[in-house]
Amino acid sequence: MLTEEDKDELFDAICEGDRETVVALVTRARDEGEDLGALLKDAMIPAMAQVGDLFSAGEIFVPEMLVSARAMQGGIDIIEPVLALSDHEPLARVSIGSVKGDLHDIGKNLVVMMLKGAGFEVEDLGVDVSNDAFAEACDRGASVICLSALLTTTRPQMLHVVNHLKSKGKTAKVVIGGAVITQDYANAIGADAFGEDAPGAVRAVKRALGLGN
């Protein structure tokens, strides 16, 4: 079993983007029958939360966050198949995409990584996603729909998605973000929350679901 020192090492390895150590420790934990859900919750997710906080505070830049997220993903790749066979439940299922007409994926992809690192099950719908595709994601169990838009020309599409989901009777929360998005805009179109950056999107999803940070 992993000792507290091992868990501290795992935490540090994620913060420092040391994927090899993360993979080695999580593999050992799996092989020794460790509660991987607890390991994820107690050591790994807090590590990525700290990385997100450092990014939001301007103490690290995107590439450093990427290195940590990828190290985290190395561990998740080992944990996920095990948890899939157990009764472990992710925090929630989130579907995310760039709205119809928007071909940018960079901001969306960062949010995908951070949401996975926070313990959410994430379905990436890609770019140029139709209103119907977002509605269908709700039918597949998404409790949160995240919308991304980069340009002022695609921003209005977010309102169309919100209205479309309402017209279809979907109750999933809607979280929006992107270079041209503000809290005022989120309020104006009736979105449930706004994320100012990738870690902010994680906080926004949690707010929308009434989960504590």
Partner: protein, 220 residues
């Protein structure tokens, strides 16, 4: 050679290889604050990013087909500014005055010639690698634009050139300078010389890594 003569003599296609673009883009990325800060820390993180840049460069080498196509445009002064290619009006009195004084306009369409989805697939749908690839591709595109500009300046030594940005992707909505309909009209002016760049209704170039620029050429 007069401006009109030199203008007519400009070659249409600029030959630049992916290798040449990466030779410029890779060190520029490493000097960007966000990457430089990480590389300066050394250790595994710096090694990881170095490896990602290598893999991103390999991906681009496999996929990219960079192209830069330059065409002359008709331009005439109107009461409101300048009418370009008989379809696009720029409300700029300064450009109108230069056109009246014999200035000429060229348009240059540049693309790396591959789509984001193809790159994402080639990189094993690895989000982090894909992000670095996108940063590197953006730098490569800017390198292509600078190469095209240098080439044009070198061929017109007796002229003054002014670049007029049309649309620069990745600069976010606040700097989306042109109406998509105007951009589409300019793209149409390339006809069969267009190296495969189209624009979506919402103003995105497809492939994403593409640029369109105008240059005003005046006598020195």
């Amino acid at each position: 050679m007069t401006v009109p003569d030199a203008f007519r003599a400009l070659p249409r296609h600029l030959a630049v290889t992916t290798r040449e673009l990466l030779a410029v883009a890779r060190p520029r990325i490493a000097r960007q604050t966000q990457y430089a800060a990480l590389i300066a820390k050394g250790g595994r993180r710096a090694a990881a990013v170095d490896d990602w840049l290598d893999r991103a460069a390999d991906c681009m080498t496999a996929l990219a087909q960079p192209a830069a196509v330059r065409i002359p445009l008709t331009a005439r002064a109107t009461p409101g500014g300048v009418l370009i290619a008989e379809t696009v009006t720029i409300g700029d009195a300064g450009i109108a005055a230069d056109i009246l004084a014999g200035g000429r306009l060229t348009a240059c369409l540049m693309t790396l010639g591959y789509g984001q989805e193809a790159a994402f697939a080639r990189l094993g749908r690895d989000y982090a690698l894909h992000h670095v690839q996108t940063d590197l591709a953006r730098e490569a595109l800017f390198a292509l634009a600078r190469a095209a500009d240098r080439d044009q300046r070198a061929r017109l030594p007796g002229s003054r050139l002014r670049r007029i940005p049309v649309q620069a992707h990745g600069l976010c909505g606040q700097r989306h300078l042109w109406d998509p309909a105007q951009v589409q009209a300019l793209l149409s002016a390339f006809g069969t010389a267009n190296p495969g760049v189209r624009q979506t209704d919402s103003g995105f170039f497809d492939p994403l890594h593409a640029l369109l620029s105008l240059t005003l050429i005046r006598a020195a």
